[in-house]
Symmetry: C2
Subunit: 133 residues, 2 copies
Amino acid sequence: MNTPIRRNTKQRAAISEVVQSLSNFHSAQDIHAELAKRGSTVGLSTVYRALAAMAADGDVDTLLRDDGETLYRQCADAAHHHHLVCRQCGATVEVDGPTVETWTQRIAAEHDFDDVSHTLEVFGRCAQCRAQG
Amino acid sequence: MNTPIRRNTKQRAAISEVVQSLSNFHSAQDIHAELAKRGSTVGLSTVYRALAAMAADGDVDTLLRDDGETLYRQCADAAHHHHLVCRQCGATVEVDGPTVETWTQRIAAEHDFDDVSHTLEVFGRCAQCRAQG
DNA sequence: ACTGATATTGACAATCGTTTTCATGTAGGG
DNA sequence: CCCTACATGAAAACGATTGTCAATATCAGT
């Protein structure tokens, strides 16, 4: 049950590079397509595996879309934070929520729950998209 | 583009009954299986369609699991609320979060976002499961 | 550098939840 | 009772993700 040692490969470097160059959240398939567009021949399975590993290491953030598709994003802050995402253009703002964190703790304590974690995402329409209509 | 009129059928009644009898969150497949166990022959597609309709009408709450599977639950309170779910046994507590609601509004306003909504779920381990180890 | 143990890759098949298709059944207003 | 839309169910289609497995590449130790 020991975690396998992680190796540095061209493929992972390429994937990492693409994820960094893309702002906002993108699916594994998106990233694979972008990779292909740039001439890379990385396999789709590899993209999935690399992204999963990066997410496990906390190098990228994940977001579950309504339809169940998983989206990945390179975040500026490695610490725990949440996202404010524009429903239309996908523009993403990283937000810190100390209020929410303490609220979560309190709720858990009140109901005698242990080892708590939470998921929180905020969706809306950004100023730019609103201006356009 | 007008919403179709909703009809009352035996199938939907059966599905509704099962959902009510099951506490906590369950997948469409779970519900279909439970239906079968009780002698009903409702088709899987029908279960999916009925649950989607019920969710659209706000009659049941939905929860997206990490692996993308959608879970459904009959909630006591029809109003907006969140859930504190035990990771182990699935026990669910409905919690109200005025703090979170106002925080969300503030964050959205600060970044000039419009028409905001949010998803928030809290996971943990309940007292009972902790006692068992 | 060479080597060996082992992590990684990629093409493809398999899985699995969910949606669609379409012919048939049925609710419910007139 | 009769329409006419909506609903059903079986099966096929779908789409994201994961597994398989032989070939390959990484890297620590020599």
